[in-house]
């Protein structure tokens, strides 16, 4: 079975490069931003098109779009990474234990997974945001609790296929406890697919953050999230289209980077492609 998307290596390097760039920007934001993203409003500079002084132009309050995008990367990446760590923890714990122990617990987890799959994760996240109110921490919780069904399924399926293997039985005979077997014997063997899922999921979480902020339920202005910037920019699309172009391009490049990286990692870590996205 040969399933190269783009040639494996190329997508890995381009994707890795884009993701590394986004991370460097996020970490070094105070060094490379020109102005403060929230405070440096100057109405004298309102709605200046992109140019030498303001690389990406300015918004209606005269804030530098470039600086806001630089700081916005912090929000997007935080949401992406933290929510995926949460999702992976939930998914792996449930999937591992369900596959390993079976029985009523397995039935329960399978039912829960099917339930999660039936509610579109954006809708679920939207409902949670409505309850918790806007803000970064609620975003992380909303996106971290709603997209674990996929890693749970993959973890469970892998455990089922590994459970009968000789080395698992050997570990049991040696007197290893259930948890120890799960986390030291099984988990390392299924880490590859899970890393791929988390990488691709990060892109999804960044898109969801943008969507929720765009709807007014995520990060609220004046804080510079790429989604909230787009939400503000919508009304000025006729007079200042650059307000929409650059935050959207930042989202696109970051998510593209994560998707390419995920694809490239899959070719290395998961040659049998158990994580082919459906």
């Amino acid at each position: 079975m040969k399933l190269p998307r783009l040639r494996g290596g190329t997508s890995l390097w381009i994707g890795g490069g884009l993701v590394a760039l986004a991370m460097v920007v996020a970490i070094a934001a105070p060094l490379i931003a020109h102005t403060d993203p929230v405070l440096d409003a100057n109405l004298m500079n309102a709605e200046i098109p992109p140019g030498f002084d303001f690389w990406f132009g300015t918004d209606a309050q005269g804030r530098d779009i470039y600086s806001r995008i630089v700081y916005g990367s912090r929000i997007s990446l935080t949401v992406g990474v933290v929510s995926q760590v949460l999702n992976s923890l939930i998914g792996v714990t449930l999937g591992l234990s369900a596959g390993y122990w079976g029985g009523w617990w397995d039935d329960f987890v399978t039912g829960l997974t099917n339930l999660m799959l039936a509610i579109p994760s954006l809708i679920f996240a939207l409902a949670i945001m409505a309850i918790l109110g806007p803000g970064l921490s609620s975003l992380v919780v909303a996106l971290g609790l709603t997209a674990w069904s996929y890693s749970c399924r993959v973890a469970r399926a892998q455990v089922l296929s590994l459970k009968g293997q000789g080395y698992i039985q050997a570990a049991r005979i040696l007197g290893y406890g259930d948890l120890r077997i799960m986390f030291t014997q099984i988990l390392p063997n299924i880490l590859g697919p899970l890393i791929v899922i988390a990488t691709l999921g990060m892109g999804g979480a960044i898109l969801s953050e943008a969507a929720l902020s765009f709807l007014g339920l995520g990060i609220r202005p004046p804080f510079p999230s790429w989604g909230s910037m787009l939400s503000e920019a919508r009304d000025q699309i006729t007079t200042a289209p650059w307000l929409s172009v650059f935050p959207g391009a930042a989202i696109f490049l970051t998510v593209l980077g994560l998707n390419l990286l995920g694809d490239g990692l899959r070719d290395i870590l998961d040659p049998q492609s158990t994580t082919r996205r459906t």
């Binding site: 783009l6 099917n114 339930l115 954006l122 809708i123 007014g216 959207g248 696109f252």
Partner: protein, 312 residues
């Protein structure tokens, strides 16, 4: 066939009840009810006595299990309650929105299937070619776009600059208003379908029965249309089903951007107004749509692939 349907329904109904329970519970812990929201906006102050009466009338003071039992009983009989905001039945509110939503989802999916499947198919027939590479670069880019940004850019280009198409709204329900939102919504599934189709076709092209068909002298054209396409279709139908089902939920953002009067924009508006019955109704509608489409897909399998007869 009836057996397949029966087994599916036996799976679907518990899921549905669980969704109803989940949504109900989520919104029962919601801090701030609709009425306190009315007080907080600062423009209106409501007499505490009136508020008390409204709470009673809407049943907000009853204990939780009682409210849930009532809600479940009503929901099963098709009564989703009255909107807190407009006082109209939620079924009526949603009923008005279903047709535009369906239209948008079907249009987006048709776009995705036509473009996505043919792109993936053509790419797979010449793997490694320029066309293949271009199609796959396009596909992964399509997966990385945020729908509303794409929608915004399409709106800017085709509605504001070129003025070929109306920028937003439902209009008289004609095709011109439908094109931009449908494309914005359809690009994601389109990209996914292109990738899946390509992978599925490549898989089948390497299968033994294709080699056999070729070696017995079947023309390439017949091999492709008769053997390859039919077998690749099974996987493609899965993806179409999953995408199709989740599209009504995904449409929320596009509907909001294009001021499309669908279930998604009703959901968002209701969330902001804390109109719980309407929010619950919309989510339920979206989930029912998802489950219905998936049941249809399961039936489609049996038709496409005679090997699947669901006998355990």
């Amino acid at each position: 066939m009836i057996l397949v349907l029966g087994r599916r329904l036996a799976n679907v109904i518990p899921t549905l009840v669980a969704v109803i329970a989940l949504v109900f519970l989520l919104f029962s812990v919601l801090p701030g009810s609709f009425i306190s929201g009315m007080n907080e906006d600062g423009r209106t102050t409501i007499d505490p006595q009136v508020m008390e009466r409204m709470r009673k009338e809407m049943g907000l003071d009853d204990p939780l299990p009682e409210r849930f039992a009532k809600y479940l009983a009503h929901t099963v009989t098709g009564d989703l309650g009255k909107s807190f905001r407009t006082r109209e039945p939620v079924t009526f509110l949603i009923g008005q929105r279903v047709w535009p939503s369906l239209k948008l989802v079907f249009a987006a999916m048709s776009f995705a299937i036509v473009i996505g499947v043919s792109l993936g198919f053509v790419a797979a027939l010449k793997p490694g070619s320029l066309l293949d590479t271009a199609a796959m670069v396009g596909a992964i880019s399509g997966l990385s776009l945020s729908q509303f940004w794409l929608g915004l850019m399409l709106m800017y280009l085709f509605a504001l600059k070129l003025q070929w198409l109306p920028s937003f709204g439902y209009g008289d329900g004609g095709l011109t208003h439908l094109i931009l939102p449908a494309v914005a919504l359809g690009v994601g599934p389109m990209a996914l379908l292109a990738r899946t189709t390509r992978a599925a076709v490549l898989d089948v092209l390497n299968a033994d029965f294709v080699r056999t068909a070729r070696s017995k002298g079947m023309s390439e054209r017949r091999v492709v249309t008769w053997h390859v396409l039919r077998n690749a279709l099974v996987l493609v139908v899965t993806i179409v089903g999953l995408q199709f089902g989740s599209l009504m939920g995904a449409a929320v953002v596009v509907e909001k951007l294009f001021a499309w009067p669908g279930v998604g924009s009703l959901l968002v508006d209701s969330v902001f107004q804390r109109d719980m019955p309407a929010v619950q109704g919309c989510i339920l509608m979206i989930v029912i749509f998802f489950l219905a489409i998936n049941t249809l897909v399961d039936i489609a399998y049996v038709v496409i692939d005679p090997r699947i007869r669901y006998g355990r």
